[in-house]
């Protein structure tokens, strides 16, 4: 299976799902389009492009040739971001960012304590000071007021 074939199938599936989900809204007519009209037209185009990408993708790179060597790092970074999204309003900006920076620097990248703590303070508390205190951009404080 080539990368283009995989991409083609994915695009077709996305188009089909969009058309299916658009059933919830009136389609309207060609002359008076309803809210489902544009999504259905664009989804149909997506299906068309997906089929074409699939059909013309026979000579593309094989999926097995795509290197995924960095997946562990990618998962760790993704996890950190997901934690940040989960924790921002629950734990507060400063605490959440401190955990994220400490985790990435000291566990994922195995940097020293001094650097880890210094950067954590600068990034979590420093950025809070610039945005929240100076620029008046409200950042969440969470349950602990942090």
């Amino acid at each position: 299976m080539t990368v283009d074939r995989v991409a083609g199938v994915t695009l077709v599936l996305m188009g089909v799902v969009t058309v299916w989900e658009s059933r919830a809204f009136p389609l309207g007519t060609l002359q008076r389009p309803g809210p489902a009209y544009a999504p259905v037209v664009v989804a149909a185009l997506l299906i068309l492009f997906g089929v074409a990408v699939f059909a013309m993708g026979g000579r593309a790179r094989r999926l097995a040739e795509v290197g995924w060597g960095e997946w562990r790092h990618a998962v760790a970074i993704f996890g950190s971001c997901a934690f940040a999204a989960w924790g921002l309003e629950r734990l507060g900006y400063r605490l959440t960012m401190a955990v994220v920076v400490l985790f990435l620097l000291m566990i994922v990248e195995r940097k020293g304590w001094a650097l880890g703590i210094a950067l954590t303070v600068v990034m979590a508390w420093g950025s809070f000071f610039v945005f929240d205190t100076m620029l008046r951009v409200p950042l969440p404080r969470g349950l602990f007021g942090l």
């Binding site: 008076r32 544009a38 990618a74």
Partner: protein, 504 residues
């Protein structure tokens, strides 16, 4: 002509008074600093700092706000070049080659070219604004929904046609972006589409989380775990300035970007975003070395940056001449004018010439201040690349999350950024370009609305698109692009027939 120059002299008298000059400087400085913060673009910058101008007189307030606007525009390009984080949709194209230049140790030249390009575009377009504002504003008003739909469609086709990869893949990505742009409340009927109960999606998916996810986060996911992390770059003094070859590569794209940006910028709506995409696409198409695009082509920075800044001035045309805000930032400036007791519109020039021409002159002065301010800062910003990547990326990540959250104070935006980061990561692995997704996302609501408004105007007849001159011209250009894109396919078919033909 003579009258215009006399008026401009009056404007310079106002703009060069120490008080006004000082506020222009403060505006540029604060704008640059705010713009450098990832995710905080010109709109957020002006919104944040608007209350600070309440105590000033109208001229000083407007000059300061315009300075903030220019400064934030330039500051946004800094994060695009150094961190691959676009502060807004207009900076997306700068990310591609600007960041590639930075990774090749040419961050200084990229920033310098962005600064000079912005300066040239800003200054030239102010000249054009001065002489052409009334007739251009009149032209801009001839853009009704059918013309607007045709223009937006052309923008998508231009981008897909100029794609380095296949037009097909570009169009597929643009379609994906269009679908994303249809999430949220339908402006014509009020239906809540594809939101699945998430009320924050009512206004649709924001451009900033998508752009930061597709570009910034995807880059981190791809790069951080590489066996050989990107080398630490220690720029030397002579590396901060562009070489003679880089200047040569930049100067024509700067002029072309200026023209494209100004012309597209005058059209009301967010069409100015298209200008950077169109400029990038044209530069890539006419380049003698198109293979360099995406890998650090100077023209890929010079063109879009100039177009972006020229579009800024272009956007002021309908605002100053007619009192019609073409873009959200112009609307904010218009509101600022009203707060200070100034009534914008055609009578502004007669009623308050000192303010009008002072504002125009301050745009010249602001561009000079920005250049003087930013060239020395290039050396400072570039030092960021001395930080090893394993230490740099957590910083960038925090800035991205902060910037994305700060736009709407919404965690949903952070989740969207995260999702888009994964999408961008996978798409780059599969050799798909992600810029058309951003363009599709920006254009979708406007395209759909203008299509449906056009049909409402014509009682459901699609002939409206081919009976109005501007619309038909734009559609014909789009059709030509499609035919040009299909040409290789047609010629291959003809070759196949020729092989089968019998010699006579």
């Amino acid at each position: 002509m003579l009258e215009t120059l006399q008026n401009l002299a009056l404007g310079f008298q106002v703009a060069l008074t120490p008080g006004v000059l000082w506020y222009g400087f403060i505006g540029c400085l604060v704008g640059t600093l705010v713009g450098v913060l990832p995710g905080v673009g010109p709109l957020a910058g002006i919104s944040l700092l608007l209350p600070a101008t309440y105590g000033l007189d109208a001229t000083r307030a407007l000059v300061m706000l315009a300075g903030i606007y220019y400064g934030a525009m330039y500051g946004g390009s800094t994060t695009s070049i150094l961190m691959r984080i676009p502060g807004e949709a207009a900076s997306v194209m700068t990310c591609i080659d600007g960041y590639a230049m930075a990774r090749k140790g040419r961050a200084g030249p990229a920033l310098t070219i962005a600064a000079v390009g912005s300066y040239v575009a800003g200054t030239v377009s102010v000249v054009a604004l001065m002489f052409l504002a009334p007739p251009l504003a009149d032209f801009a008003l001839r853009f009704g929904p059918p013309e607007y739909f045709a223009l937006l469609l052309l923008g998508l086709l231009v981008l897909a046609y100029m794609n380095t990869g296949s037009m097909l893949k570009g169009l597929a990505m643009a379609a994906l972006g269009l679908l994303l742009g249809m999430i949220g409340i339908d402006q014509m009927s009020g239906y809540f589409r594809f939101a699945y109960g998430v009320t924050e999606l009512g206004d649709g998916i924001g451009v900033v989380p998508v752009a930061v996810g597709l570009f910034g986060l995807a880059e981190i996911l791809l790069t951080a775990g590489q066996k050989d992390p990107p080398a630490v770059i220690r720029p030397r003094l002579r590396d901060l300035l562009p070489s003679r070859q880089e200047w040569r590569d930049a100067h024509l794209p700067i002029w072309r970007g200026t023209g494209i940006g100004f012309l597209i910028g005058i059209i009301p709506g967010s069409a100015h975003v298209i200008s950077t995409f169109v400029s990038y696409a044209i530069e890539r198409k006419i380049s003698k070395r198109p293979e360099e695009f995406g890998k650090g082509a100077v023209a890929g920075v010079a063109g879009p940056e100039s177009a972006n800044n020229a579009a800024t001035s272009g956007a002021f045309v309908p605002m100053l001449a007619l009192g019609v805000p073409g873009v959200p930032v112009a609307a904010l400036l218009l509101a600022a004018m009203m707060v200070h007791g100034v009534t914008p519109g055609p009578l502004l020039i007669q009623q308050d010439p000192r303010l009008f021409w002072g504002f125009i002159a301050s745009m010249y002065v602001g561009n000079v201040i920005l250049l003087i301010l930013n060239l020395p800062l290039v050396g400072l910003f570039v030092n960021l690349l001395r930080v090893p990547y394993p230490v740099l990326y957590p910083i960038v990540l925090v800035c991205s999350i902060l910037g994305v959250y700060a736009v709407n104070s919404s965690v949903v935006d952070v989740w969207i950024m995260l999702g888009m980061g994964v999408v961008g990561y996978v798409l780059r692995k599969l050799d798909f370009e992600t810029a058309p997704i951003v363009l599709g996302l920006v254009l979708a609501p406007m395209m759909e609305l203008s299509l449906r408004q056009s049909l409402a105007m014509s009682a459901g007849s699609y002939a409206i698109f081919v009976t109005r001159p501007i619309s038909v011209i734009l559609l014909v250009i789009g059709l030509i692009l499609v035919i040009l894109a299909l040409r290789p396919l047609i010629s291959r078919t003809l070759d196949w027939r020729a092989r089968l033909a019998v010699d006579t």
